[in-house]
Amino acid sequence: MIQSLEHISGLSWPTYSAILEPEKIVSFATAIGEINPIYHNSMTAKAAGFRDIPAPPTYLFCIDFEQDRFERRLADMGIGLEQILHVEQSFSSIVRAVAGDEISFTARVSDCFLRKGGALLFVRIETQIENRNGPVGIMCSTMAARLDTGAQV
């Protein structure tokens, strides 16, 4: 059951941390067709001036999906995965995260509103990303949830 706008707009989630695994970064780079060797080989990345294999810019978004975090956030709103479409996404990057970094993520609902006479619910989740030294960047995801199955986004 969909939760109230007041409930959803006040949602935030505890900070969690993850260590970026080189194997997962390489798998992700392969999946997006990125063949630049800095995304596949630690030596090449270091020779190019990175501390280790850099995370492709959209990789950190994937950490959100680990351990069912994304599904559980939707459940906290009363929304099912099959109801949503991803409509907007942004990230800002202050420093590049690389393999081996311990990265923390702190997510909250930053906006939430209804459209089309209440048939569509738009939710924006903002995630602050940090490493041990400070801010890495911010991600924002905007989802549209069909509350009425016939609604077109």
Binding site: S27, P56, P57, C62, F65, L81, E88, Q89, S92
Partner: protein, 137 residues
């Protein structure tokens, strides 16, 4: 790589880049590597129930193509900000083309902004975005 050490001029348009065609196998590989298990991208029946003729590509796969294009054009580690809108669903077998135009450029701050668009082979926009970049090291 281009633009090392200097900002590109306003109106500059880097050469278009083509991605795809988008295959079912690619959507599965992206799902596994990203952890996005939304069945809309994997299960034809779920996609049909949602009103599509078959599975559609993950929006984040298109955004990843946009970052690949920006890094190819302007250098690894150049992107400071990227905001995109997923304006239309991406069907199977789509051939995607990324294009961009430099919309502002500051020599003093070694930074510039780019409008990026990803269209399919029918010239329908699928992703539109704005990026802020810094001159590659």
């Amino acid at each position: 790589m281009s633009a090392t050490g200097r900002t590109p001029p306003i109106g500059d348009t880097p050469p278009r880049l083509v991605f795809g065609p988008v295959t079912r196998a690619e959507l599965l590989t992206y799902s596994q590597a990203s952890g996005d298990r939304n069945p809309l991208h994997l299960d034809t029946e779920v996609a049909k129930r949602a009103g599509f003729s078959d599975v559609i590509a993950q929006g984040m796969l298109a955004m990843a193509f946009a970052t690949r294009a920006l890094e190819h054009w302007f250098g690894i580690d150049a992107i400071r900000l990227l905001q995109v809108r997923f304006v239309d669903s991406i069907a199977l077998d789509s051939v995607l083309e990324a294009s961009a135009t430099v919309s502002s450029s500051s020599f003093e701050e070694a930074s510039f902004e780019v409008e990026i668009t990803i269209k399919d082979q029918k010239n329908v926009s699928k992703l539109v975005g704005d990026a802020s970049l810094t001159v590659a090291r």
